[in-house]
Symmetry: none
Subunit: 458 residues, 2 copies
């Protein structure tokens, strides 16, 4: 049996930055590392080519009566820059205290290694385990998984023999409390560009005769929220599902404290949809956010120009059952209708992702037709977490987005059990990313226990 | 005698961007170029150090009974970016048709070279010309001339022996019609910065709980104008002088056509203060303009960040008798009062300049105590323009700002005769700046003729 921490170090040493073509060697190294690890565990490994980075599909077959779990993960990582802010080099893993440092340690190499190790131990202990397992490990997650939907279409038939998806690519609120994430927000992203005069103009020679596109853009942006914090776009909330009382109750158990949260953010006033606490708003409510704005002169000092253009980058986080394309159209139509005379408005479409929600068994709104194996998986996860962590998991939606979860539901019809393993202090996407080795140890035990119970028909 | 076009090329090749410290070499190159040119013409050249870029003071003395003209110009230029929009490199002058292209070709290297050439020819033709001439050429005009007022205080006594200032740093409406500019707008510039959370945030993990500073900034900006085009700041228009009927009449002679102007700008709707045509508004009315805006992610694609900060660069063009400091305070106070809760607003003060107006001899509002040499200079300029261009000049205020003109009036008591030489199509402060060489040729003849008449006591 391999040592999971040593294996994780080896995994981190492959600099698998998917978005940067200079790291092609690191990408293939990481892919081969995962493929050969799973191959060594007795899996039939296929490396499925895509337009960019291949997807690893590793299968342990068995009787069709056995439960079939798809374990998802990704072998690519975010860029490591700014490199100078790392205490030790990003791709030279180092253990300090109970943490392993390195790019990808928490997102997603550590959590993926956690689940691979659990499966390896389980199969070593019981080579005849009555459980079908498919590892699905992609290499484009940090780029928005562009090849994934096409892959799902192509492998629809094979994957639809599965019962559910299991993954660890979400967060724990703290080291004591496990969360089984049961909802993710979707995304709708686009840029808006406003053009005034056909070129930049001298504000002395022409100032006072035409509408400045910065002003026009600001006027448009200023209409998109009400003073009390709602998105002011007709129809924006029409498809939003009501929150079930059990979800609010579950969130209360988290015991999050508004004062500490405000201090963490460095703000003195929250700004949420009326009727929602900050912790509720970021899970249950959609947003319309401005990720960037630009136009005219941005350097030091001054340049007295009336710019020809100004732009803003807009992203909406969506909740069930909002549809990204419909929301994009609503917001774009509203912007067009509200644009002042004298400027031209154009859009640059960016990507999108559906929101996702799954209801665990036994809740007031659990679907009547919920797959029995999914329900068993949730119960096994609940029991395993309670046993290993000494505390029952919470079932919470998360504010972030993992669009492939909704893609899998839409294309294959599978729901996901999301067993979060990274902590707020893990510095995902930032310098000095790290992963807590105590969490890893308990995570291995939890996944092992959960899959064992599932296989045992419990 | 030098070839003025070749000399102008040489001048443009010095990349004298005063606002950017990377161009220090270009600044000293341009300064040395002008100093040595004037030295070669027999002027006594002093290079007066300032906190930043030195001022060239070049003197041709003479009898105290001779008229004394100060010829103003500047050797610095605007930044050339965005560089990719230039057809030929900004600092490699090229002649295409009857135009010379390059940063500073029109603002102010071409017009300054025009007046230097006129003086050189005049002195070559008549070395004993009874005219005292002082060239005053600064290197901080494009930064708002921060060192200039202090210089004026220090050189007050020497400069107060002069009768008036002559310069070409204003515009011609078209190639046929000369304008002797008799008014300039002032300036009040500052940046506003809005801060939300203490750092950039992930819009999935935290979106929906706090006010985005881009939104807060847009809301502030959107309040600063009324829909009908007035600046919506209480007290903003209080000190604005009424326009004299002769000024509106003179402007009518310009025969400017709104349709052509709209086409030139590439807009379909004007946006002016009510009661003013676009041509009146840009001369007689103040503005509040947004020269730049920035915040968050501005690259390609997307980054789902809630930025910590956003900023805008604001400039007001002022008319007599608005005071820059008062206007800055009014606008800043208004912004502070209107800023939404949940963000912090700060200001970075930039430069400023007083508005200026001079009334030519013989108008209904000409001051009774107008200097006789100034009145003669205006009459000589009128006669020279009529002779060389075949049409009398117009006396119009201009929308642009040359703050040092008001400074010279305030500190030294001198008025200015402003002989405009750049055309609307010259692309000042923009890519592909150019200067019309036919205008340059007639400009040289005009200045030469005007100074000759003045020296001859006409």
């Amino acid at each position: 049996m391999f040592d999971p921490v040593e294996k994780l170090k080896e995994f981190i040493r492959h600099p698998s930055v998917s978005a940067d073509s200079r790291f092609r060697g690191g990408m293939s190294g990481a892919q081969e590392f995962v493929s050969s690890l799973l191959g060594g565990m007795g899996f039939v490994v296929e490396v499925v080519p895509t337009a960019l980075h291949p997807i690893i599909l590793a299968t342990r077959g068995g009787e069709t009566s056995w439960p079939h779990v798809v374990i998802y993960g990704h072998y690519d990582v975010q860029p490591a820059d700014p490199l100078n802010l790392w205490t030790t080099p990003a791709f030279e893993p180092e253990i300090r205290g109970n943490r392993i440092y390195g790019r990808g340690a928490a997102d997603n190499k550590g959590p993926l290694m956690t689940n691979i190790t659990a499966v390896a131990r389980l199969l070593e202990a019981n080579p005849k385990l009555p459980l079908r397992i498919t590892f699905l490990v992609e290499g484009e997650e940090e780029m928005g998984s562009p090849s994934f939907p096409k892959f799902l279409e192509a492998y629809r038939e094979r994957l639809s023999t599965a019962d559910f998806v299991y993954l660890s690519d979400t967060a724990l609120p703290n080291e004591q409390q496990v969360v089984l994430t049961c909802g993710l927000r979707g995304l709708a992203l686009f840029d808006v560009q406003v053009t005034g005069a056909k070129g930049d103009l001298h504000s002395g020679l022409h100032g006072g005769v035409l509408l400045n596109p910065i002003q026009a853009l600001a006027e448009i942006i200023a209409t998109l929220h009400t003073p009390d914090g709602r998105v002011n776009v007709p129809g924006f909330y029409d498809a939003v599902l009501d929150v079930h009382p059990w979800e609010r109750d579950e969130l209360k158990k988290l015991g999050a404290d508004e004062k500490s949260y405000a201090e963490f953010l460095g703000i003195d006033t929250f700004y949420t949809t009326p009727g929602f606490s900050p912790f509720e708003a970021l899970r249950f409510q959609p947003t319309l956010e401005f990720n960037g704005i630009g136009g005219g002169y941005q350097g030091e000092g001054t340049k007295t120009v009336i710019p020809s253009k100004a732009f803003a980058k807009i992203s909406c986080r969506l909740v069930p059952n909002q549809e990204p394309d419909k929301i994009k159209k609503l917001v774009m139509d509203t912007i067009r209708a509200r644009a002042p005379k004298g400027v031209k408005v154009e859009f640059v479409d960016q990507h999108k992702g559906d929101p996702y929600v799954v209801v665990p068994p036994g809740r007031s709104n659990t679907p009547a037709n919920q797959s029995p194996v999914l329900a068993r998986a949730f119960r096994a996860a609940d029991a395993a977490v309670t046993e290993i962590w000494g505390r029952a998991p919470l079932y919470l939606r998360e504010g972030g987005s993992v669009p492939i979860i909704a893609d899998i539901k839409r294309v294959i019809g599978l729901d996901s059990v999301m067993f979060g393993l990274f902590l707020p202090e893990d510095n995902l996407h930032a310098p000095n990313e790290s992963f807590n080795l105590d969490v890893m140890k308990k995570g291995i035990e939890t996944t092992q226990r959960m899959l064992a119970m599932l296989a045992a028909g419990k």
